[in-house]
């Protein structure tokens, strides 16, 4: 991949180490050397090879009649079912329900976790108050709490929102506390020597310095939120992608299960990319905002 020019120094550093790399061919066994860059074209071809190998295997197994379509449907069968589910609109209520639950649960958790995490990482008295509790609760798998939540709240969307909320809240608080605790102390000290008061230091230094790490951790926890959602929907639901998959299992519709899995994967990928571009757009100054 083309290195993104960050600074004159980093450029001269890397070229000083490997002045001849760009001209070399990968055939001279450099690819066996750890951490050596390879050419972009080679990189892409390797990816293409691995992806098409999986497809090829899949096609041989299904079109060749080597496995029962009940266990593994062919690509065309899945495409047909997918087309049908979207064309008739059958799948949309499931997608909307899942999306709605994930987004609402996650946003609620973030609204509390971000400020709580910043406070916990920066102020020892807040840490003393909430860290022991969070450290206990965050090791409780949220799936173990689902029965309790069903007892308390029922099996509607609110219960699922609660699962997402509880599943991400404590992890996110802990991760963000770590981000704010790792803001270099010198960044705060220099502000004091420029005449800043405690309030200025928190608002003008601590919070902006934590933002890239916060974005990073939101992105990671969002992935977990999808997992929790599907678990919650598998246990009890009336709508949603997890529900759709479970119903398909009962009806032996393996193709529908696969469509469900692809849609979940695709939605996960879209949310992940959304966070990536949000970082580039909102935090263009961050080291993480380099397009790669």
């Amino acid at each position: 991949m083309k290195p993104f020019p960050e600074s004159a120094e980093s450029r001269s550093l890397s070229s000083a180490h490997h002045p001849e790399n760009t001209q070399r061919r990968w055939t001279d066994k450099d690819f066996l050397k750890p951490k050596e860059p390879i050419r972009h074209r080679v990189y892409l071809s390797l990816t293409a090879i691995s992806v098409s190998a999986i497809f090829l295997l899949w096609m041989i197994l299904t079109y060749g009649g080597l496995v029962d379509p009940m266990f593994l449907p062919s690509p065309t069968a899945i495409l047909k079912t997918g087309y049908h589910l979207f064309a008739t609109g059958e799948i949309y209520p499931n997608i909307w329900t899942s999306l709605y639950v994930v987004v609402v649960g996650f946003i609620l958790a973030a609204i509390i976790a971000v400020p709580a995490g910043i406070l916990m990482g920066s102020f020892k008295f807040v840490e003393a108050l909430i860290e022991p509790i969070i450290n206990f609760v965050r090791y409780l798998p949220v799936s173990a709490m689902i029965p309790l939540l069903i007892l308390w709240i029922g099996i509607g969307d609110v219960e699922k929102i609660a699962v997402i909320f509880l599943g991400t809240l404590f992890q996110l608080t802990f991760l963000i506390a770590d981000v704010s605790a790792n803001v270099p102390k010198e960044l705060l000290q220099v502000a004091y020597t420029l005449g800043a008061r405690k309030r200025d230091v928190t608002l003008r230094v601590l919070i902006p310095a934590s933002l890239p790490g916060i974005m990073d951790n939101l992105r990671i926890t969002m992935g977990w939120a999808w997992t929790y959602l599907i678990v919650a929907e598998l246990v009890s639901a009336e709508r949603g992608l997890g529900y759709m998959i479970l119903q398909a299992m009962r009806g032996m519709q393996t193709d529908v299960i696969f469509v469900g899995l692809f849609v979940i994967g695709l939605l996960g990928l879209i949310t992940d990319q959304t966070f990536k571009y949000l970082t580039i757009w909102l935090l263009p100054w961050s080291e993480k905002a380099s397009v790669s």
Binding site: E6, S7, A8, E9, P184, E186, L187, Q189, V190, A191, Y192, T193, L194, G195, A196, D200, R204, V205, P208, A209, L211, L283, P284, W285, S286, E287
Partner: protein, 266 residues
């Protein structure tokens, strides 16, 4: 000349998590005259950075005091600008906004901020870099902006804690010349901490040599080399004579420090 900054019998003790008491500084007394450039040189771990942080008000002495213009220092303030060894530019602010950070806190007018920023950017050789984010700058450029940021606040004294320690040798020499020239022009009062002997003598009007832990002032060396100083003076017999003296003094301390670290093993 008037004594601008007076460090009076400053002692600093730490208690480690293992409950051992460490004396970082012991009865340190020193002073900086108005418009004087004072350097403190010592081996790593001798407490010189701690001393500078006490002057900045970021740490409190266990006993003794520091006076700036006769007033005792109790907390950090805009009258003592500081430049650190690590890069402390705010990555979310452009070069211009970094330099304007202190000015905005003082509610300086927009027009004045523009003028001051342009003036100091030009002074540190970065005219036209206003809109860059720190991530696009090299280490040397970052420290230029950090110096401009500290100076833009117009402090009574400038405190520098090994500001060129992370730079490569060539860049460091260029930065020393730039800083010296800036201080000769602006007549700012400077307290500069370093472990680099050449740097301490080349920049300093007075060089304080510190002992290994506990940090004490071992010797005070006046550098009677007139300003403006060209980099060529580093080759002059006078400079080399001074250097020989400082090197010898520091060497004794380094050996002592190593012996301390390894205890009876050394």
């Amino acid at each position: 000349m008037k004594k601008k900054l007076i460090i009076e019998e400053v002692t600093k003790r730490f208690v480690t998590p293992k409950r051992e008491e460490i004396v970082a500084l012991e009865n340190v007394s020193a002073y900086v005259e108005t418009s004087e450039f004072v350097t403190i040189v010592g081996t790593s771990g001798c407490g010189k950075s701690t001393l500078l942080k006490i002057v900045a008000g970021l740490e409190r002495p266990s006993s003794g005091k520091v006076l700036l213009d006769g007033r005792e220092i109790r907390e950090p303030g805009a009258d003592r600008g500081m430049v650190f060894q690590s890069y402390t530019l705010y990555p979310w602010l452009t070069v211009k906004d970094n330099i304007a950070f202190g000015l905005r806190l003082k509610k300086t007018s927009k027009k004045e901020i523009d003028e001051i920023v342009t003036y100091y950017l030009e002074k540190v050789g970065l005219a036209g870099f206003d809109a860059y984010y720190p991530k696009a700058l090299s280490g040397g450029m970052k420290q230029r902006v950090a110096i401009a940021r500290a100076m833009a606040n117009n402090p009574e004294i400038l405190l520098l804690d090994e500001p060129f320690g992370a730079l490569d040798a060539q860049t460091r020499v260029i930065m020393q010349e730039l800083l010296l020239q800036l201080m000769e022009e602006t007549k700012m009062t400077v307290l500069f901490v370093t472990h680099d002997i050449d740097e301490a003598i080349y920049l300093g009007d007075t060089v304080y040599i510190m002992t290994a832990r506990p940090g004490r002032i071992k010797e005070e060396v006046k550098v009677d080399v007139p300003h403006p100083r060209s980099p060529d003076i580093k080759m002059s017999p006078m400079f080399l004579e001074l250097k020989k003296k400082v090197v010898k003094s520091i060497r004794e301390e380094t050996i002592k420090a190593v012996a301390q670290t390894f205890g009876g093993l050394a």
